[in-house]
């Protein structure tokens, strides 16, 4: 297994052994930080659309391993504004950097970039399509909390909220296809997980239960992955208010939860997790965000050849 020089574009490009290798490298860095790991490495962060959290996480990951970062954080200040093609921007930037992290509003932009770039491209989100470092950190978080995932024992993972447009949900469901998982799904009418993801999940051997309410998910799950509901998905503001009230976890709802339940969220949350949940032992979303550091260090280390992939 060789990650050196490899692009990280879509979770669908990785098999189980490769995913496990990323998790293992992440775990080693979480347990034993390596402040010199990426010394003399240069990362270019090309954010054609703003995403403060993703950029900060990659930059912090790089700095804490001794690496350097150049880049821009919005397209208005970049050459795109002057009409430069994406391919040309990449051909220019690859002269300065050992690895490129890019965020772009168009679906497929990272794949396009990877087909011209001689240095590895890490997709930091391409439109509604993929955000693989988020998927790896979600998976790393689950695997750290529940070692039985890698041992092949069944885990119950609930997804709640906007399962139709939620990119993080789709990619994580794809990745979970490599493990033994029972999916518990709760979504408002019209925002259910698209049929082809259901088919794909079942074909990968996952059990899928559609649950009637968020409370059912709370009562049954090991992991509850919450997502943000976006107002623009609802034509009727009254309907949105109603759904918002239904898809909200509160500390009171957690009284009937299993003690091991952990709640994850890709953040930012809006109203779907009440602040009183934060103080419960079930809240794990901020630690999840923190896991972005070792996971992104592992990805950068592997693709720049600073880390060896171990199976």
């Amino acid at each position: 297994m060789n990650f050196h020089g490899r692009h990280i574009i879509s979770i669908a490009d990785f098999n189980r052994a490769e995913i496990l290798a990323v998790l293992r490298a992440s775990r080693e860095l979480a347990e034993r930080p390596r402040p010199e790991l990426l010394a003399k490495r240069q990362m270019a962060t090309l954010f054609f659309e703003p995403s403060t959290r993703t950029r900060l996480s990659f930059e912090a990951a790089m700095h804490r391993c001794g690496g350097q970062v150049i880049g821009f954080s919005d397209a208005a200040s970049s050459s795109t504004k002057k009409g430069e093609s994406l391919a040309d921007t990449i051909r220019m930037v690859e002269q300065y950097a050992d690895v490129i992290v890019m965020r772009h509003p168009r679906d497929g932009s990272a794949r396009l970039a990877s087909s011209v770039s001689r240095v590895p491209v890490i997709n930091g989100g391409d439109g509604a399509n993929q955000h693989p470092s988020q998927t790896f950190l979600d998976l790393f978080t689950i695997a750290s909390l529940f070692p039985q995932l890698e041992r092949g024992e069944e885990l119950k993972i609930a997804f709640a909220g906007d399962l139709k447009y939620g990119r993080t949900v789709h990619s994580l469901v794809t990745a979970l296809g490599h493990f033994r998982v029972r999916l518990l799904l709760v979504a408002p009418d019209g925002l259910e997980l698209p049929e082809h993801y259901l088919t794909e999940a079942r074909a990968a051997g996952l059990e899928v239960d559609i649950l009637p309410s968020l409370q059912d998910a709370v009562n049954q799950a090991d992991v509850l992955y919450m997502t943000r509901l976006q107002e623009e998905r609802f034509p009727d503001p009254l309907e949105f208010d109603h759904i918002k009230a239904t898809y909200r976890i509160t500390a009171a709802m957690l009284r009937s939860a299993r003690p091991e339940l952990r709640i994850l969220h890709p953040l930012p949350r809006v109203g779907e997790i009440a602040p009183d949940v934060d103080a419960t032992p079930h809240a794990h979303y901020f630690q999840q965000a923190g896991n972005g550091i070792p996971v992104r260090q592992a990805l950068v280390g592997l693709v720049t050849g600073s880390l060896e992939a171990k199976s």
Partner: protein, 158 residues
């Protein structure tokens, strides 16, 4: 009023000029006849087009005849997206010397636009690429935005 063209099997043959040498693309679904002609011919070709001819196999059909040029069947692979039922006959001296179904390639490279309006290929000057994920019915996945499409959801680039 009957708007069907009145044809008999005897007269139908003469509705489209017979060619001595070249290629006949037959059994084209009527509505994509012109698209097929646009796809496979150049401005230098001598082309005969028959539209809305009666067909026992597909109802109404189109025929495109290219005189003097034998079409490379592999080059016609884009036909699989819009006219998978069509046949390609090579004609030499008024005789059919080769009859081919439309081959389905592994990849459709730069022949159709992606139907996802937010796909990067609709915003950058960059060739499209679709991988075949199912053959019957034909389903493809965009190499860039990763969306899956039925063949008839795509539009040809020329």
């Amino acid at each position: 009023m009957n708007r069907e063209p009145i044809t008999t099997s005897a007269s139908r043959v003469r509705q489209v000029e017979a060619i001595a040498n070249g290629t006949v693309i037959d059994h084209i679904p009527a509505e994509v006849t012109l698209a097929v002609a646009r796809l496979l011919t150049t401005t230098d070709d001598q082309v005969f087009i028959g539209m809305n001819l009666r067909s026992t196999r597909i109802g109404r059909k189109g025929v495109v005849k290219i005189s003097g040029r034998e079409l490379d069947v592999q080059a016609a692979a884009a036909l699989a997206l819009i006219a998978p039922s069509a046949t390609i006959c090579i004609i030499r001296n008024y005789e059919v010397v080769g009859k081919n179904q439309i081959p389905i390639p592994e990849v459709f490279a730069d022949v159709a636009a992606c139907a996802n309006p937010n796909c990067v290929t609709n915003h950058e000057r960059w060739p499209t690429r679709f991988l075949v994920i199912d053959r019957n019915p034909l389903q493809v996945r965009c190499h860039y935005c990763e969306r899956a499409f039925a063949a008839d959801e795509l539009t040809l680039l020329r």
